[in-house]
């Protein structure tokens, strides 16, 4: 098993990193809180990478990790990690404009209980960016997929400023139903789950980097607080969770790309491990920052919010543990 990046993958990661740093500063995240259009200029850059929706998952993960590092908002994630793969599973003609970055889309699956399984609930929950994307793919039991435009939506405010969530009324937009086979739909969900885990690893790394830097700079009792063992051991544990989650994510990416028999298990492990890393980096990050980390003006909370929003989406840690248990025993 080889985790070494190819030269192309290194280039993709470096390009993504520079792009995010340049085009997604925290000022954009703050402007986006009240005005979702603030993320439109970012989308005009990210759309050039929409083809990642159909390539190796490992590549999408590299890109998503850098998105998570800046908590990038907008339609890129739902379009490339959910909508395009679902169109691919359907063999739908919208796939090519989606991969070209010409259209955006999102996918509605969860019902009243918030669980990521096909169902016939009349109101779909936790649908990201549903009010601003071009298409919403509604998945009902079967699984059957209906592609609609401008359905009736209602914003559900979550802690996460970077991922705007909606309820979508089923039947509020019309379109023909397409069927997708169960395995194809599971692959779409596995793919989205691992891509989200990659994003979370990026967010966790951002929280960790901010915290590590602060621990080296902040002086109390005449020394940097990072010289105290209480802080060192906390950060060592965060680093461990971050490293194991990163490894689990790329292992899952490779397993899915290789259609390996272990891929479903690997996807659950990746999301659960990423959840552990992101929430620990968030909690210990604010604790190490002390009072300044508790303020609105400091950027830390933008990433803490994204960490918890992501943990709750596409299956919590507990939810993935329960699925893992079904696979293992």
């Amino acid at each position: 098993m080889d985790f070494t990046l190819s030269p192309d993958q290194e280039l993709l990661r470096d390009t993504a990193r520079q792009l995010m740093q340049r085009e997604c500063p925290s000022e954009l995240l703050r402007a986006h809180i009240d005005d979702p259009a603030a993320a439109d200029p970012l989308w005009r850059h990210l759309r050039d990478f929409a083809a990642l929706g159909d390539g190796p998952l490992a590549d999408l993960c590299l890109f998503a990790e850098e998105m998570g590092y800046v908590a990038a908002p907008g339609p890129f994630f739902p379009t490339t990690a959910l909508f395009s793969p679902l169109l691919g599973a359907l063999g739908h003609e919208l796939l090519s404009p989606a991969l070209a970055g010409e259209i955006t889309g999102t996918v509605a699956v969860a019902g009243a209980d918030g669980g990521w399984q096909a169902n016939d609930d009349r109101v779909k929950t936790f649908v990201p960016e549903a009010d601003r994307v071009d298409w919403v793919a509604i998945v009902s039991s079967g699984p059957a997929v209906t592609l609609v435009q401008s359905p009736s939506t209602r914003r559900v405010t979550t802690v996460d400023f970077s991922r705007r969530m909606f309820e979508v009324e089923v039947g509020s937009g019309s379109g023909p139903a397409h069927s997708v086979d169960v395995e194809g739909f599971e692959s779409v969900l596995d793919r989205a789950t691992v891509a989200l885990a990659a994003e979370m690893v990026g967010t966790a790394r951002r929280l960790f980097d901010m915290t590590l830097e602060y621990a080296k700079e902040r002086v109390q009792f005449d020394v940097p607080i990072g010289s105290f063992q209480a802080i060192q051991h906390k950060l060592a544990e965060v680093a461990l969770d971050l490293e194991r989650a990163t490894s689990a994510v790329y292992y899952a990416g490779m397993a899915i790309d290789a259609k390996d028999a272990d891929r479903h298990r690997a996807a659950h492990v990746a999301k659960a491990a990423a959840g552990a890393a992101a929430t620990r980096a968030a909690k210990d990050g604010i604790q190490v920052h002390g009072g300044i980390g508790y303020t609105w003006e400091h950027d830390l909370h933008l990433f803490i919010r994204h960490a918890y929003g992501s943990e709750a989406w596409l299956g919590t840690r507990d939810w993935h543990h329960d699925r893992l248990a079904e696979l293992l025993f």
């Binding site: 010289s227 950060l235 490293e243 293992l328």
Partner: protein
């Protein structure tokens, strides 16, 4: 990135598997997943079949695959070494019942020893000579450099006085790799030397120590005016600390495999235990077992990721995490095995407890892994300071 090894590596694995199928002794099939409790009599810490098996591995050049044939290997690449460690761990076949000789003494003598001392290496690897390592002392545990066993320097010999403790295999060893203070006036890291001692030298007194499980496989070793010839000094006088830092480097990138593999066996055992006790449909039990599985699976991925960087020639920070993480998770698993037995969790009677007391024994033995070889707290210090670059406390 790719998931599987290439055809050349798999051919190597097939050759190894064929050798193991033919030669692994049946006694090795007991498949223990906790540290060997050393339940034998003192003289029998190393079972006869274990000695023969280690010699067989050496003679067939499978003892340390990365070494040349005369040292029991076949000049393997790092990837081949990893595959070797994977297969041995998968079958839970121990290479040796006494690690100090092949894992610590051999690589250290090859790097730092004189020509005459390097001649001791083949027997150390083959297991013909049993070694113990004189490191820890009553007042030098995690702070190993604070050791105070004293060696007076004379023209052609040293005279050693002091005490070592937790010395594994001391009661059966022929030789000791012993760290001593040769310059009490120098800063503590700069006054330490390494000596080779014959354990039958007059003045060495070995007192076996029983450990928490009740068995004895380590000892206190007392030195009273022990005379050691000058040529038994390894490396340079007062420069012994450097040698403690280099042990095991040749296989370090793959040593995690055994730890992770044991964890997986233990978790598999927990699932079987929960099934036998009618708890496997309990949602709380299921979630907890899945969480343990998730952590073990992510550690396996982390091990491979670290190995990838190592094979590319960069130092791999991932490995600093593996010892701490596998040992701590192991302890949690063993404790959970006791918890799953309810009121019977504390039963030590092999006839009444589950699996002959496996879970109780495994729990007690698991502390060896979070304490020995650098405690988890020391590992966190190392991660914080060497990997994360945090400043040392003043």
């Amino acid at each position: 990135m790719q998931l599987s090894w290439g055809p050349e590596e798999e051919a190597f694995r097939a050759e190894l598997v064929a050798f193991l199928d033919e030669h692994v002794p049946h006694e090795a099939d007991k498949g223990f997943d906790y540290a060997d409790p050393g339940e034998h009599e003192d003289g029998d810490l190393i079972p006869e079949w274990g000695r023969a098996w280690q010699a067989t591995l050496f003679d067939h050049r499978w003892m340390i695959p990365a070494y040349p044939p005369e040292l029991g290997g076949r000049n393997c690449t790092p990837v081949q070494t990893l595959i070797y460690l994977e297969e041995m761990a998968r079958r839970r076949v121990p290479r040796s019942f006494h690690f100090p000789g092949y894992a610590i003494v051999a690589p250290s003598l090859l790097e730092f020893g004189s020509d005459a001392q390097r001649e001791l290496v083949p027997a150390a690897i083959r297991g013909d000579t049993i070694w113990c390592i004189g490191m820890s002392e009553p007042n030098a545990g995690s702070d190993l450099a604070g050791l105070s066993t004293r060696a007076e320097v004379h023209d052609d010999h040293f005279v050693v006085n002091g005490q070592k403790v937790w010395t594994s295999y001391a009661m059966v060893a022929q030789k000791c790799f012993c760290y001593v203070r040769t310059d009490p006036s120098a800063p503590k890291h700069k006054g330490i030397s390494l000596l080779i001692m014959d354990m039958d030298t007059p003045g060495i007194d070995i007192r076996p120590l029983r450990h928490i499980s009740g068995a004895a496989n380590f000892a206190e070793v007392f030195f009273s005016d022990v005379v050691v010839p000058r040529e038994n000094l390894v490396g340079t006088l007062n420069d012994g600390w450097r040698i403690t830092q280099g042990s095991l480097a040749h296989e370090r990138a793959g040593l995690w495999v055994e730890g992770v593999s044991r964890l997986e066996t233990t978790i598999h055992g927990l699932v079987n235990l929960a099934t036998r006790r009618g708890l496997i449909d309990d949602p709380i039990v299921r979630r907890r077992l899945a969480e343990l599985s998730e952590r073990a699976a992510s550690l396996r991925a982390l091990g491979y990721k670290g190995f990838s960087s190592f094979a590319q020639g960069s130092s791999a920070p991932e490995h600093s995490f593996m010892k701490m993480a596998t040992s701590e998770l192991g302890k949690e698993c063993w404790e959970y095995g006791m918890e799953l037995q309810g009121a019977y969790g504390a039963v030590a009677d092999p006839d009444r407890g589950e699996e002959g007391g496996r879970w109780v024994m495994g729990f007690f033995m698991s502390f060896a892994n979070t304490i020995a070889g650098g405690s988890s707290e020391i590992q966190r210090n190392i991660i914080a300071q060497r990997v994360l670059g945090l400043p040392r406390a003043r």
